[in-house]
Structure formats: C-alpha cells, structure tokens
Amino acid sequence: MEQPVQTEMWKAQSLEELIRILHRIFAEDKVSVEEVQALMESYESNPEEWLQYAKFDQYRYTRNLVDSGNGKFNLMILCWGEGHGSSIHDHTDSHCFMKILQGNLKETLFEWPEKKGNGEMIKKSERVLRENQCAYINDSIGLHRVENISHTETAVSLHLYSPPFDSCNTFDQRTGHKHKVKMTFYSEFGERTH
C-alpha cells in the first residue's frame, strides 16, 4: 500500500456505506493504510446494523464473515465473551485493521522471536482499545494478542484483512515456538457455518 494521489477523508454513515466505500477504495491499485484506518474509525458503531453478524459462542471468540470484498479483502466481525482471548499470532503478510464496535479489547504487541527462539517472547507494548477506535497491524510491525479482559462485558470488533488469508501462525509466549493454524468462520454473511 502506498500514499494515494489525492487525500480524501471518508465518513461512513452506516455499515453498508462503509462496505461500499471499502469496495471503491480497494478497486484501485494503490490503497492507503491511513485512508482505510480513518474510514473505519469514522463509522460510528450502530448495533442494529451489525447484530445479525454478532454470533457469540460460549467457549471461545468467534469469527463471522460480513463481506468478502471481491477477493481483495475480508471483512468480519469477531465476538468476544467475557475473558475470551486469542493466542499470539501473525498476519501472514497481510494488513489487519481492527475496529471496536462494542466493549473494549486489550491488544498486547510482541517482538518476533529469534530464529532459534527458546526464551520468553518480548512484550513491546499493550493498550486497551475503546469503542470506535481502529488499530492497525502487519507482520513488519510485529505480533499481537487480542483479549477481552472484562469479566462482565462482552466485546465485538470489526476486522478487515487485505489480502484475505485463512491460515496464520500462533506463538507460545514462553518459548517463541510457532505453530500454523487454519482459521475458520463461525458464520458467513449472517448464516451459521457447520
């Protein structure tokens, strides 16, 4: 992604409009990270618009596909129950945007482990993302763990990945060892997958 020729700041008034603008942006050859992040942040979360995609699972967080972006990106909604968290993972050379639609999520950034990693992974930073904030990460920035640390509130987040990917590596915090995993969708376009 490189700087766009013109700097236009979009404002998405609804989830539908957000998706429409994303399609338009990604139809171009060059897409700006800042533009997408600003667009995602501009959308003010309205649960009525995304409740149909927000399917929670009792045991772990869920990934619910919203739009497959003509193959250029995947847009999905993740639902986090109380205490649900992800493992430390990478993003398979893709761009990852994460916007909070409800609740809060803690993001902990980690350094890539050494090639022959056999020690505790190094924490770079951590922060708590609030409603409507949008974070960005890619493999050159590092690895992260995302978790809902609340014991009383659920959390919902909107993720955009470009290009789309269905596998990534998870990392053992104590040793840096990695393990490839396949990612699946709990639901697609509002319908439960099985």
């Binding site: 009792q58 045991y59 772990r60 109380e82 205490g83 968290g85 493992s87 430390i88 640390i149 609340s150 014991h151 009383t152 998870t170 990392f171 053992d172 915090q173 104590r174 040793t175 060892h177 393990h179």
Partner: protein, 313 residues
C-alpha cells in the same frame, strides 16, 4: 425492586437489573415462577441479604436457569445460592471471592461456571462433582494448584486458567476427554525439568514395610507388635498405574514434561513411590525413567489430538 413485581408481571421470564446500583435482590423475586434468567451484574450486591432467603424452596428456585452476578462485591458465594438446583449458568466474575465452598456441588445442573477475576486461591475437589459442567472459567485468580479430581469433569469442554499462580498441572488433566480449549498463559509454569530436590529417602521402617507388602511376606497379628501391624495396614498403592509398588509416607513429587505434538511442554505432576519408579515396577527397579516418560508422551499425543487448542502461548 418494586413490591408488586410478581403480581404485575407473573409471566416474567427474563429480568435484567444490571447497572442499577441495587444492594439487594429482595423477596419480590421469589414468586416469579417463570423467571429463568436473572441478570444483576455491575451492582452493589455482596452484603448479607443480597439474595432473598428461602431461594431454594421458592418457585424461583426451581425455575431459574441463568444467574449473572458479575461485577458486584461478593466476598463469598451467598449460601442461599445453593438452593438453585435447576441452575445451568452462574457467573460471579469480577467479585471479591477468596474461595469456592464445597457446597458448590449442590448446583447439580450447572453447565457454565464463570469465576474469573476474583481472589480465589484454591479449588475444592467437590467442584468435580458437577456432572454437567462444560465450561469452567477460573482465569485471573490466585490459584496455585488444581486438584486431580477435576479430571472427573467428563463433560468439560473449555477450561480457562490463565493468569493464576500455577507451576504445574496434575497428570490427570490428560483424562479430560472432551476438553477442547485450555488456557494456561500467565502462569509461572515450570519450563525446565525440575527434579524434586526435597525428596526424603524412605526410612528403614518404610523400606521394610514395602518389602513385606510387595513380596507378600506372610505375617499374623501375633507375629508383630500392634503398632507395626497397624503401620503395615496403611500401605498406599503407588499412584503410577503401571507400578505395583506401595509406599507409606515417602513418595516423590516429580514434574514430568509432556509434549503435546512437540509444540508445547506442559509440566505435569507425577506422584511416584520412588525416583526410580517406572513401568513395570519391580522391587529392583534399576531402569531409567525413560519408559514412563514415553508412556506419558503416548498419552499426551492422544490427549493432544482430542485437545484442539491449548492456549499456552
């Protein structure tokens, strides 16, 4: 809560009084025979009388299926809670609990138990008597060890233990057949193999007792002083299922590391009759521990296939 609640809304099924500052849930609730879900999180509940007396005998006691008391001020689980024999889901996350009472086993229908974010230091073995428990959350507490009885929770699908004070796990954890999710991050799990250096060698009395038991040396009560007859009756079988040995007072806690498909090494606690205990065990067990290690690894790879996601990292 308004006094006429059960008269105005006799058909009430779901009541959400979360975030209303309530300091107690009163008797007005008791006469709601259809209420199955009560959400009262983020209030000021926790003092005596937070829950109405006679909960177990009331209509509510039979109908209630889901109770959410997270984000309150409970220092201990209120005793009237245990009358809710039909309760399927209980959340007391983000309170101030220091322990789980053995009475927890009274909640015989419980499937979902959320106790994350408290100050719990230990788990009572009675928790294992909940036959339908499938989701157990104990993250963000101060738990130092897991009782091996927890392996009796055959229905357990998800166990959340992250951010506690665990240094090892009991080997019985491998028996949890349906466990698919296990979170262990943020525990001071012992990474390198640690030999228990505080093993006290058995006394001559113990060694003699072991020999008599394992070699089936015959004796009659008249052959020995009464105290020795009593001592011999206290022999315990070595917990290693493949070992036929016995021990009296002296057993070794040994931490064995079990690879889950070579990706993670979980420290599991073995109790053995001696540091040389392996399988098969004989009185002259000179064989190395490699046999029992590889047995553990076989068990582990079977468990790993069942356990789809170990969130250790």
């Amino acid at each position: 809560l308004p006094a006429g609640l059960s008269q105005w809304f006799p058909a009430l099924e779901v009541l959400d009084v979360s975030g209303t500052g309530l300091a107690e849930l009163g008797a007005e609730l008791l006469a709601l025979p259809h209420l199955h879900t009560l959400l009262a999180k983020n209030n000021r509940l926790g003092g005596p009388g937070s829950l109405p007396k006679g909960l177990g005998q009331a209509a509510l006691g039979r109908s209630l299926r889901v109770l959410n008391l997270s984000g309150n001020r409970f220092l201990e689980m209120p005793p009237s809670l245990f009358g809710l024999r039909g309760l399927r889901s209980l959340s007391l996350g983000g309170n101030r609990l220091h322990s789980i009472p053995p009475d927890i086993q009274e909640l015989c229908s419980l499937e979902f138990l959320y106790l994350g974010g408290n100050f719990i230091t230990s788990i009572p073995p009675e928790l294992a008597n909940l036959p339908s428990l499938s989701y157990l959350v104990l993250c963000d507490n101060k738990i130092q060890s897991i009782p091996p009885q927890l392996a009796q929770l055959h229905s357990l699908r998800s166990l959340s233990l992250h951010n506690n004070l665990l240094t090892y796990l009991p080997r019985e954890i491998l028996n949890l057949v349906h466990l698919e999710e296990l979170s262990l991050r943020g525990n001071p799990l012992v990474v390198r193999f640690v030999r228990d250096l505080t093993y006290n060698p058995p006394s001559l009395l113990e060694l003699a007792g072991r020999t008599i038991k394992t070699r089936n040396v015959a004796y009659a009560p008249s052959d020995l002083p009464e105290n020795l007859v009593r001592y011999l009756s206290l022999a315990s079988n070595c917990p290693n299922p493949k070992c036929g040995g016995v021990y009296f007072d002296s057993c070794v806690r040994q931490i064995k590391f079990v690879d889950f498909c070579g990706k993670y090494r979980l420290p599991l606690m073995h109790y053995l009759c001696s540091p040389e205990c392996s399988s098969p065990c004989s009185s002259a067990s000179q064989s190395s521990t490699s046999q029992s290690e590889s047995d553990s690894e076989d068990e582990a790879s079977v468990a790993a296939r069942r356990m789809q996601k170990v969130l250790l990292g």
